[in-house]
């Protein structure tokens, strides 16, 4: 029943494709912005669910708790999850100000790094939802 409810919740996503871009929009900038927003929403949903079920998750799936604490670890720019998102934002703005091949390579690299953290969080979010 719970899995059915989750499937119902995910259906709108399954049937919604990515939008075509308006003229003038730089695809890599839009992709970076989408990744920043999707990563933040995923980190936030995962940490919210983990926080609500912390005691149970800590006992039954310590690796999920450990990953949550990794995202929460305080860094100069805020908790690590937020610092990662802000870091991509800084690289994206640098590229928008000067579209050099070097800045583009840095943006692509930062995009890959945040995408990897996002994929890892989605894996742990799936585990956390089971509690």
């Amino acid at each position: 029943m719970k899995h059915f409810a989750i499937l119902i919740l995910l259906l709108p996503l399954i049937f919604t494709g990515c939008a075509g871009l308006k003229p003038g929009a730089d695809p890599i900038i839009v992709r970076a912005q989408q990744t920043e927003r999707a990563a933040f929403e995923t980190f936030d949903a995962f940490l919210r669910i983990e926080h609500k079920n912390a005691a149970r998750i800590r006992t039954a799936a310590p690796e999920v708790s450990k990953f949550a604490e990794w995202l929460r670890e305080p860094l100069p720019d805020g908790p690590r999850g937020i610092a990662l998102v802000k870091s991509l934002g800084n690289v994206r703005r640098a590229y928008a100000n000067a579209k050099t091949p070097d800045n583009r390579a840095k943006l692509a690299s930062a995009l890959d790094a945040l995408s990897a953290a996002l994929a890892e969080t989605q894996k742990h979010l799936t585990a956390a939802k089971a509690f």
Binding site: L9, R48, G78
Partner: protein, 67 residues
């Protein structure tokens, strides 16, 4: 009588299940908005996202546990 006695337990379970359901629903709704993005952010949207990031860091579920 037994049913009445177990009512608080059922209510707690329902609260937890629907609580997680609401979080997931909000998450999916926001991802749909992300998928619909078809232009670069305006300065106002950029500022709004910065504000969201800064506010989130102050919320309880983002704070590192001491133990």
């Amino acid at each position: 009588m037994m049913i009445l006695a177990s009512l608080p337990t059922f209510l707690n379970i329902a609260k937890e299940v629907f609580g997680v359901g609401a979080d997931l629903y909000r998450y999916v709704t926001r991802l749909r908005e992300v998928a619909r993005q078809d232009a670069e952010w305006t300065p106002a949207q950029e500022a709004e996202f910065d504000r969201v990031l800064n506010d989130a860091g102050l919320q309880e579920h983002w704070k590192a546990h001491k133990d």
